[in-house]
Symmetry: C2
Subunit: 234 residues, 2 copies
């Protein structure tokens, strides 16, 4: 992220979905207070948006791009909790109970993000219950998704987990049966909770069996039915 980005307005707030949602619960004048203490930033692929363990000072709204939420353990191994496409509220996992970021968030492709000051946000939320409820809803929704994701992973074998990951990326991230990965095999393995080799082997097998068409970063789902069956059976 270069200094110049701090000065240039990346996108117009008037078309912002977060503003749209917020203004259902507050007066434009009130939103203006929020806007004033917010900063628009660009992040290049691979750059850190929020860092686990750092003081949580902002809630972030992802305007454009794809990010990964991940947890870094003591041994430096990562675990991807979820991968999210814009538009989406990110980084609020601990808005209301922790002062440190529980997870890291990193750009998986070039992103545009609006960093919203937490102090002001809380201030407004404290005198505006419906807004507070809405934020709460978005934050707990994120938690819920992560947990359901973990549950999926927890009692399936690698076959089913990788099928899941592909189905998820296809339906919720790239929104197409044929997409170009912006994630490495290593990242897929951190999402599926297995070794990198296992991801590669499994993708090769799916390719050999005609379920997927895998060519490097390009992935096409050939046999959706069978992929879904593998996901179900585990």
């Amino acid at each position: 992220m270069s200094i110049s980005d701090l000065h240039s307005k990346v996108y117009n707030c008037d078309t912002c979905l977060f503003k749209l949602i917020s203004c259902q619960y507050m007066e434009p004048v009130e939103f203006e207070k929020l806007r004033k203490v917010s900063v628009q930033l660009r992040f290049k692929k691979g750059e850190a948006i929020l860092k686990q363990g750092a003081r949580a000072t902002h809630l972030a709204f992802l305007q454009k791009g794809i990010v990964k939420f991940y947890y870094e353990d003591e041994k430096g191994k990562n675990l991807i909790l979820t991968i999210t496409k814009s538009p989406s509220l990110i980084g609020g996992a601990n808005v209301f109970n922790e002062s440190m970021n529980l997870f890291s968030i990193q750009a998986v492709e070039d992103c545009e993000v609006c960093m919203i000051d937490l102090v002001m946000l809380k201030e407004i939320a404290m005198v505006n219950n419906r807004f507070l409820m809405k934020i709460l809803e978005m934050v707990t929704g994120m938690f819920k998704d992560s947990i359901l994701n973990f549950i999926n992973l927890a009692h399936k074998q690698v076959n089913g987990r990788i099928a899941d990951v592909i189905l998820y990326l296809s339906s919720s991230v790239y929104r197409s049966q044929h997409f170009t990965l912006t994630l490495t095999r290593k990242e897929l393995s951190e999402f599926a909770g297995c070794s990198t080799e296992n991801v590669i082997h499994t993708l090769s097998r799916f390719h050999r069996e005609g379920i997927l068409n895998v060519k490097g970063k390009s992935i096409e789902i050939n046999d959706l039915d069978r992929l879904q069956r593998i996901s179900k059976v585990g």
Copy 2:
């Protein structure tokens, strides 16, 4: 749970921790409204307190006992998310965003539970921000714990996962180095995310190696250091 329990007062509200917390944020008169629409219940070991998929009508406060949160998948396989000891707020996982229970909660030993009406709770919370924030804090805290638990499981092998489960039960549930399990080996396996046999084998191995003293339901931690090391290494 027998009908008679609906009429007998199981315990006194004046000593209730939930009342204590709540009354930091509301007048006793207001709390009285909440109390009036709440019901005290007893659950025997194995009984269902909340059922996944059912309409979420109550927030529950666990006065006494131990419960398990679990998710039932389509194939009828269970996955235990967490095991919690009283006193604790339970079943609020979806207070603010879902109308159905996301998980089931079951008594792992005899329990006393206060079922708090959600409609009234929300009503009060809507005009009492500090109370709303407190509830929010408790609810997201639960989510956070579950996720951190999953993270622990996700990149450890069975050895480390079982060490984790034992350490967790010892420190957070039974609160002793020597305890009598109220869970079956099958339940432990649903918590650790592995086969029942693997739990049995691993516990036997830990016993053989002098790390634990396992005799049926009785478990004693002999070598805490080594157990913690196994948990760390994975």
